[in-house]
Amino acid sequence: MPHAQFMKRLLPIPISITLASLFVAMWTAGCGSNSPTTQEASGQGEKQLTVGVAFETLQTEYWVAGFEAIKEQLAKRNIKVLEAIANSDSNRQFEQIQTFVTRGVDGIIMVPKDAKTCIPSIRAANSAGIPIVLFNRPAGESDAKSVAVQADNFKLSKETVAFMIEQARKTGTKHKAMVIMGDLGDINAIGRRDGFDAAVKGNEDLIEVVSRVPSEWNQEKAQAGVVNALQAHPDISFIFTSSDFLFPSIVSAMKTAGKYKKIGEPGHVILGGFDGDATAYQMMKDGYLDATGVQDVYFEAEATVQALLDLRGGKDVPTLIQDPGFVIHQGNMDEMTPKMWGANIRK
């Protein structure tokens, strides 16, 4: 029987579809499996180090930019990379770290799902004597030893909002404000909310917070929340979002309410964000965004890899290395754009 005919008989259409789907799924989402995939970095001479990089998710531009920046730093140092993505599943992430430990990697870089569920993973690495550095999310208090590199969410939000308040003061009128919060279970979201509150405190004569919208990091919820808040308070003129990735939804709601105006135009709403992504860069360039707090991904990636190598070398490393980040605004845009990761991924 000719091969093609045999295959035709053997594989009716549904089976073919299923197998094709499985093949594509395995091909496209290989990094989502429990077994980490390997990427060889070229190198000769001394023993090549191997580092496991385990990310909780790649579901935002920020995580993708961080992932790429870390791999770039490791490649620069001729270090072999094992990759693993947990797709927001802390159990899967624990298994991935166990696999790294079993394979005897020389170091682990991890973005944990949250502060608590990563502790068993850190303990597993500690027991095997493998240094572990957490990228962007530190672990909760425990006897497990790790180093974390994290943006100072509180300070950076506070500085961003302080800049926005400065702009508000220049208008000479009192402003009604809205803050769009992230997931209340995310320590980074809480830090940003607290930074907003700290900046507003003491400026109540100028800023009255009339709406707090919980977005759960969901664009639909953010859009509905902003529409509802603008319905209740049509005179809101000051909006801060805890992440730039919510801007498209916020802008859509503002446009519907006729409140999306350029800086300097009558009716402009003072707008600020956090992250420094590509959308924020474009909005700033177009003259709509007043300021955003930028997490310095490149600094964080370099500091993470350096901390890992220092731990391996037996050096003392502080348990928390903070990325000071920076506030980018219309006044310093030309100077700071090269450091804004969102501006670079747009290119």
Binding site: R212, Q231, A232
Partner: protein, 327 residues
Amino acid sequence: MTLQKLILVALRYTTLLLFGAVFLVFGSLSSKFLEPVNVVNILTQSSSTAIVAIGMTFVLLTAGVDLSVGSIMFVAVAVAGKMIFTGYSLGLSICAALCVGFVFGRLNSILIVRFRIMPFIVTLGTLYFGRGFGLWLTETRAMNMPDAVTQLGAARIAGIPIPILIFLSVLAAGHFVLTQTPLGRQIYAVGNDPEAARKAGIRVNRILGVVYVLSGVCAAIGGFVALTQTGAVSPTFGNQKEFSAIAAAVLGGTSLFGGRGTIFPGTVLGAVLIQTVENGLVILNVDPYLYPLVTSAVIFLAVLIDTTRTNLLEKLGRRPIRVEPVR
């Protein structure tokens, strides 16, 4: 009317009564809440979830479940978004999104009907496949749509926003199919007892195949409606939408065991009720920590009352057994 009958009538219209109560409470606390503009806002914001929940109701009525609706929404809008950016017309992009919904629904139905794999497992698989495929397609980058897309979401025909019109069209079609056609009656029959339905000459496999396709297409339509409002395809688009859709259907009285439930007023009221609660909480500027507590309390209360009603009806339907005195 006896007290028992009164209680039964009240229990029958649980969701409606709860909806009225929620409206009254929020309305008394803020005059903004009752403004017609806000009512339109609530309906617009409910549209996407309600459309997905209508598709989900068809599946739940057959005692199945479709966990892949959120992923189908994501892939459908990702494909449409890519096409819009490539220069294809909006109409063609919408057709492509609907085709994605059809293909995913068909894939689910083939795996469930022909291979007899449990719907939970199949749709869980397509949930992961769809999410992975969508991430690969979008390269995990947010796609900000051109103004034409958000303008579509804000546009009105005869004073009614387009998202509400799409929602009403899907509602009318779904309600008609379920209540006025043989297909609708067969769906209920399959959900009540598939074996009895088979013996009665109903092609059970065909019915099961159809409901997953309907669910897939509804998910794609719901996805596009959501896109006209958010104006962007983010990597988390449609994430966990399956839970909102199931919650809306169950809140509207649809049984997870199949055979019982309605699209109108049931599922639609459920979807609008959830959005009404969230809208009211934002208008009142309630502490964000209370949002999940209040929303879950409303869902829990509705389901509890519905279960009480079912138990009461069962109790009333029992034949009293007379015990003969022993002589």
